[in-house]
């Protein structure tokens, strides 16, 4: 096997490989430090963080599905100060790759506040903005379902940070391209997609929804074709880099996401059924590249026209 180059450049940040555990499926990285070698990971997207600590939703928060699962954790997190003063510095002490802070908010002002705090933390490399949160000032409609709202968040966040800003988009929209373009025009440095697809299960014995909050985010291999299609559309409509996410479970899926236009690839639900999923995918990439005649992963980004 010849030397394969797995590295990619994301907004000028070199990742040793494109594989990143997705936010919410890997805690703050620290929880898994004793179980696997974090330093094989291209980056780590940390658990979504809000200004104040949140206890999250009542249980059950998890429902199993065919080829996937629904979660409704409800953004349980220790708050932005714990992220910048404790979690990110603790991870930096043991991890050399890209640390991605996933930032949530319930108002434009909260997004800006949280990002200003994250900007002050030298251990955070990239900000990933979760615009799937409900806007408390506009009847609870998610910021990411409207181009103007998504752009307003992007603009407010870009004004308070010099770190690369990726907007993580919700797939629960009619026109993903319009929202991605609005974010790009508002100054986003990149787009991450997709977040989970709104789903539901009912326990037919109890005659009640399985999830305490009734609905939740569906993810897993079942959503991969949907995610791939959206990554393809956005990557072709925008000039900024895309992190592809949604149903990635194998090295083949990473290659496919990159051929669709992703510069980096996030692995989500698969981590929950296999904590070693990311290291196993990274280890499988060189042989797969060999069989496909790929020397540099960077060369295949968006190659499938």
């Amino acid at each position: 096997m010849v030397n394969h180059d797995l590295s990619v450049s994301l907004c000028g940040i070199r990742l040793q490989n494109p594989v990143i555990p997705a936010s919410g499926t890997f805690g703050f990285g620290l929880e898994l430090a004793d179980s696997l070698d974090l330093n094989v990971l291209g980056g780590i997207s940390l658990k979504g963080t809000t200004r104040d600590a949140r206890p999250g939703n009542p249980t059950p928060r998890i429902a199993e599905c065919t080829a996937g699962m629904i979660n409704s954790v409800g953004l349980q997190n220790p708050g932005i100060e714990a992220l910048v003063s404790d979690k990110a510095p603790a991870l930096r002490r043991i991890y050399r790759g890209a640390i991605i802070a996933n930032i949530s908010g319930f108002s434009v002002e909260e997004y800006a506040y949280n990002c200003a705090r994250a900007d002050s933390c030298p251990d955070i490399d990239i900000l990933e903005i979760n615009v799937s949160c409900p806007n408390v000032h506009h009847g609870g409609m998610a910021f990411g379902t409207d181009p103007a709202s998504a752009a307003a968040v992007t603009k407010a966040v870009k004004a308070v940070t010099h770190k690369p800003v990726f907007i993580k988009l919700s797939p629960n929209v009619t026109d993903i391209v319009a929202i991605a373009r609005a974010c790009e025009e508002a100054g986003a440095d990149g787009i991450c997609l997709i977040n989970t697809v709104l789903g539901m299960r009912i326990d037919i014995k109890r005659r009640k929804p399985v999830i305490a909050n009734k609905m939740g985010g569906f993810s897993g291999p079942a959503v991969f074709p949907l995610a791939l299609r959206m990554v393809y559309q956005v990557a072709h409509a925008c000039r900024i880099p895309v992190m592809g996410c949604g149903g990635v479970a194998r090295a083949k899926d990473v290659i496919e996401m990159m051929m669709a236009g992703a510069t980096a690839v996030q692995v989500g639900a698969e981590n929950l059924r296999n904590p070693m999923a990311c290291p196993e995918i990274i280890a499988a990439l060189p042989a797969l590249m060999d069989s496909l005649g790929i020397n540099r992963l960077q060369d295949i980004i968006g190659i499938a026209e």
Partner: protein, 245 residues
């Protein structure tokens, strides 16, 4: 936490819908009572968390109840089949905190982790008494195994077919065992009644629908007296004062 392949030595029905699964692996297995394993089942997306009932030098004994399609699949698996497990998971019981004698209170399959706990207590020179509650006689499991260790076992059944008629709390009231610490695993209403009835220190093993089973998805959080805690990693065993019923 490790991911390891085990193979099935036996997988037999021992009571109504209740199976005893004996597994072996390469190398040593080190786990404590109240901890659990997370089993990958072919064709099922999420793993199945199951508490450990006994630890062998190179194996495990688990008890599980057929409650849905996943556990029904598991019950059909035959000797020699491979299973991929994550282990050891969770924070278990604290036998070292028992001064002299312990009361083990199980409801239904909640008896399973109490078997390993009883062995640990006896190995430390402590005394143990068990009170096990079941709905009916054909659901009784692990009573003989505990007695074989030398642990006195008192039974309650809801239909009164065996032992005290009623709940474990009725059996405890009838037997009046002496103990300085209790350990309980079973249905939430049973454990709530136990904690309300007993004023000695005690430990409670909680159950919750889990995602990762290892503390990084935050899918099984419960609110406790000291804030949000993950059942899979901070528990499943909590001091009784921690649990907000």
């Amino acid at each position: 936490m490790q991911k390891r392949i085990f193979h099935i030595i036996s997988n037999d029905a021992v009571a109504r819908d209740t199976f005893r699964l004996e597994l072996r692996t390469e190398g040593r297995v080190v786990m404590g009572s109240g901890q659990f394993v997370d089993i990958a089942l072919p064709g099922r997306y999420l793993r199945r968390p199951i508490s450990v009932s006994d630890v062998l030098p190179d194996g495990l004994i688990l008890y599980y109840k057929v409650v849905g399609e996943g556990t029904r699949d598991l019950s059909a698996m035959v000797k020699g089949s491979e299973l991929e497990l994550l282990l050891p998971l969770g924070s278990g019981f604290h036998p070292e905190k028992c001064r002299e004698s312990a009361l083990l209170i199980g409801g239904g399959l909640g008896a399973a982790p109490l078997f390993l706990l009883a062995k640990e207590l006896l190995a430390r020179g402590k005394q143990a008494t068990a009170v096990l509650g079941f709905n009916r006689a054909d659901e009784i499991c692990l009573a003989q195994e505990l007695e074989a260790l030398g642990v006195p076992v008192h039974l309650s059944t809801l239909d009164g077919s065996v032992g005290t008629k009623g709940f474990v709390t009725d059996a405890i009231a009838a037997v009046q065992p002496a103990f300085d610490r209790f350990f309980t695993c079973g249905p939430l209403p049973m454990m709530k009644a136990v904690c309300a009835a007993l004023d000695t220190p005690g430990e409670v093993s909680l159950e919750e629908r889990m995602g990762c089973g290892a503390g990084y998805c935050y899918g099984c959080t419960v609110i406790t007296a000291s804030g949000p805690r993950r059942v899979c990693a901070d528990g499943p065993v909590f001091d009784k004062e921690e649990v907000l019923w």
